[in-house]
Each structure stands twice: as structure tokens, then as C-alpha cells.
């Protein structure tokens, strides 16, 4: 049983790590959710013991109720975080029209080159306009229909 559970944890953890290395944000998020589940299974495995339901005063060997309480809490937390992350991904999609990490990375690179003007020779607004750099120092398409 212990071997089976540890194999399960290993496979889920491995798939999660694989997904998190992908370029597609949705896959990254799926990987994060899977990772949370691997951790939940690991907590269950930390108190793995067969037995009856843990009621007060039960004579026979009971299962460990504490790990179940911990897992339940961890599940709730990972649900909440998953919701938050998904909504954030939506906002990123809204402002970049892409969930591809390469696109986001190139937006970051443009931003960095704007930031990295040597100090003392900061491009002024008129020079910037001639270089085709807009006053808006944030790279990315601004969300449509938002104030």
C-alpha cells in the first residue's frame, strides 16, 4: 500500500513538474493544481493506517483522522489559490491576447530595454517619440473597455 501511494505521488508530481515547464500558461496552471494534489496525497500517506472510523471510545484500531483534516484544509487552500491563478491568467490574456509564455517574455524584454536606458541619459519624451517609444512605459495591449 505504501509503495502504491508513493508511486502515485511520484507520478503525479512528475507530471506536474513536466506541465509546469510548458510554454502554455493553461498547462502551467494545470501543473500547479496537480502539484497541490500530489502534496495532498503525500499528507495522506504521512499517516497511512488502516482502521475503522475514528470515533471517541471505539475499541478497535482507528485510522488517523489528523491527516484527513490536514488534507481537507490543504484541498480548500489549493482550490482557492487555483481560482485566483485562473482569474489572473484571464487578466493576462485580456491584456496580452496570448497565454504563450514566449509572447509574455518578449513583452518583458521590450519593457526591460525601456527601463535599462543608462542613467543620466534618460531619453526625454520628445526624443522618445522620435524613436517610436510611446509615453506609456508599460508594454502590452491595454485591456479594452476598462477604465
Amino acid at each position: 500500500m505504501t509503495l502504491l501511494v508513493s508511486l502515485c505521488v511520484a507520478v503525479i508530481f512528475g507530471s506536474a513538474a513536466y506541465l509546469m515547464l510548458k510554454r502554455d500558461l493553461i498547462r502551467v496552471i494545470t501543473g500547479m493544481i496537480l502539484l497541490g494534489n500530489a502534496a495532498n496525497l503525500f499528507i495522506m500517506a504521512a499517516g497511512l493506517r488502516q482502521g475503522s472510523a475514528p470515533f471517541v471510545g471505539s475499541a478497535s484500531e482507528t485510522s488517523d483522522s489528523l491527516v484527513q483534516a490536514m488534507t481537507l484544509t490543504a484541498i480548500v487552500i489549493s482550490f482557492g489559490v487555483a481560482t485566483l491563478v485562473l482569474s489572473l491568467v484571464y487578466r493576462v490574456y485580456d491584456s496580452h491576447h496570448s497565454v504563450d509564455l514566449r509572447r509574455l517574455g518578449s513583452a518583458e524584454a521590450v519593457q526591460a530595454s525601456l527601463d535599462d536606458q543608462p542613467t543620466g541619459q534618460d531619453i526625454r519624451a520628445d526624443e522618445a517619440a522620435s524613436l517610436g517609444v510611446t509615453e506609456e512605459r508599460d508594454v502590452g495591449v491595454s485591456p479594452k473597455g476598462r477604465p
Binding site: M70, V81, L88, R91, S95, L104, D116, T119, V139, G140
Partner: protein, 457 residues
Amino acid sequence: MIIALPLAILWFGGLGIALLDGTRKPVGFTAVGVMLAALAATVTLGVDVHANGPKVMQIAGWDAGVGIALRADLLGITFAVVSLIVLTTALWFEVSRDVKARIFPGLVLFMGLGLTGLFLTGDAFNFYVFFEISMVAAYVLASYGESPRQLRAALIFIVVNLLGSVLFLVGIAAMYHNTGWLDMERIAGFSSLIDQNPAILTATIVFVAFSIKLGLFPFHFWLPAVYTGTRPAVAAILSGALANIGSYGLIRFGADIFPRELHEGAAVMLVLGTISIVYGGVQAIGRHSPNEVLAYSSIGQVGYILIALSIGGEAGYTAAILYAVVNALNKTLLFLAASLRGWVAGATFAVGAFSVAGVPPAGGFFGKMAVFQVSIDDGKPWIVALVFLGGALSFIYMFQLYRARFWINEEADEATTRGALGLVVAIALMIVAIGVFPEPLLSLSQQAASVLPERAP
């Protein structure tokens, strides 16, 4: 009851404020008032603990060892007070300028709740829950401003830190499996009985989890990307308050729960700390945008905490606590002051810069001197040289930044209001006061370190 009081104030205050429109000034100032009340309650608790020793409170009246315990000792209280000071300042700073999102004040209160809770809890799993409360608040805060860049920063922040949280959860499960307890004091009591291999593995997992929060050298990659994008108040919160989780976690779980493994891993920590100091300093010199310089500076500064921790013993722990406290104040001051303009802001920034470099009138000098002392006592003169080198590097990048921000580029990012200036002046005065009268903080750190067991031989 008194231990739960700051938590209750922050929880109910946070719930109330979260329902209101935080962009309105009265709501913002109410939130500042709630923070100040929680700070006052925590300080009162601290005075009590200082006079009468650690306090324990069993939640819901369970027998000791069955339920969750809140435990207030000086180590936790010190970190709680510093974090609340930083959060209050950052919140007040933002309110005195312009709050951009209605949820901002509520989120700062919830983060205060999470931080105070984890510094005052005595239960490992409860620690994780409070940790997640503050992290979730931080995830949302990282996207505060909601420009495309801040959204990207928040995404990086969440993905990396979620990985850290999951690792920490696995570490707690491993501790429970190996000792059969979740109560931190009891885990500490049994940790020396765990077999060598599982103990090392568990300690390593916990170390990695907290190093990710702290932004230590091999785990630092997320930190510049996040700090560069965020607004100054949020950057101050992340580096001044949230990073305290990392330093407190390393001290509590390292020195208190796994002293044997801390001793065995001391060489690794020494190396990582050294690389952090040099890498952070050199990278910071090569950067131009103020938040990026300060982000790399944070990577360098946590190296000192790690070195002090790896030397260990009561003097080493004292130095680590002292450095963590001073560093939190420094970073808050620098991030906030760098976004302001005028000679007052320039002067306060200079105080912060001197403090980071360890120049005498500022508080940072005593942090560096504490690290000096332990390294000389420990017979490691090369650490003294390293601290000098780190100080020299930070002097260079801080001066570059000062020159770029206050001498050459006179345009402000946003309004420099009188309230915002007053706050940075207050923090700067606090740092100078620590430098001029170091005795109270020094003895406080010493007493906080005395709750930790002496290093295992």
C-alpha cells in the same frame, strides 16, 4: 486571550474593510487605524512576554497537545512587531498618495493577519495555514496596479511561490510522519530522535521552501522580475514584511526544530550566503532602474542573515535576528523613498543607503557589526573580509542609485505628498535611532535568540 487579540483585530477589521471601497480616503485611514490598533496590541503582548516569559494559549480549550496552540515568545513577537510596522507604513504611504484598487487596504490587513498569526502560532500546520493567508494576499498585491507588467510579475510570483508553499506542506507532512506531532515544541523535542536520512531530507525541503520566500541565491530568480514591476508600497511590503517569513522560518525551523541538521548544513549555508552577497552586490551595480537595484540588493542582504545563522550559537542567532529586523526597515525605507522627490526624500534615502552599506550613524552598522563579531569569535576572518566587500559593493550601487534618482533625474513618478514624506522620515528616524541607541534592540535580539536551544555539539 491576549495572544489572539491582534489576530482578532486584524481579522474582523480586514473583513469589514474588504467590503468597503478602499479607494476612498476615510476607508483607507480606518484601515491604517486598525493596523495601528493591532500593532499596539502586539506591542502590549510583547511587553507582557518580556516581563513574564512566553505565553501559551490553547485554542478552543483543548488539552495541551491535542488542539492547536498559539505560542508567543520574544522571537515571534519581534518579527510580528517589525512586520506590522512595515505594513502600517506601506499602507499609510499608499493611502496618503492614491489607492488604485478598492481591495488594497483590506489585503494589507489580511496579510498582517497571516504574518502575525504565523509568528505567534505554535503548531506547524497552523503555521502553514497562516502562511497561505499571507501568501494569497501577497499574490493579489503583486498584481496591484493591474498594468500588463504587474500582471506578468504577479504570475511569476504566484507560480514560483506556490511551488515553495507546496514544498513546505510536504515538509510538514514529513515532520508529522516522523515525529507524530504537529506542535512545534514537541516536534523540536523529538527531532533529534529522527533517523539521519529523513531528518536531513525534511530539513532540506523546509530550507528550500523558506529560501524561495527569502530570495536566496539559487532561488532568487523570481525576485527581480517581481520587484521591478510592482508599485513602491507593494515592493516595500514584499521585501519588508513578507520576506520576514523566510528569515523567521529559517530561524524557527532551523535553529529551533532542526538544530542538528542546521549544524550539519552550516557549510552549505555559508557558501550560499557568500554567493548571495557577492552576486546580489555585483548584479545591483549593473542595473539602472531603482526597483531592480533594490531587488538585487535584497538578494545580497539576506546572505548576511544566512551567514549569521550558519555560524550559529546564541551570538549567531542574535546577529541573524538583528540583521533581519534592520534589513526589513532598510528595504521599506529605500523602496518608499526612491519613489519620492525633493531634498527630504533624498536625505531619507541617504539614511537608508548608509544603513545598507553599514556606515555608523545608521542602524545597519550594528547589524553588520554583529555579523563581524560572531565571525571573529568563530575564527573565520574571511567572513569579515566578505562583509567589508559586501558593504563596499552596496555603497557603490546605492550611490549610483542616489545620483541617478536625486541628482540627475528630478521628475517624480507620482505626487510627493506631505504624508508620504512624513512616513519615510519617521522610518529614517527609527533607523538612525537604532544606530544611536542600539542597546534596546541588541538586548531584545539577544533575549529573542535565547528562546532557541544552544547549538547541538
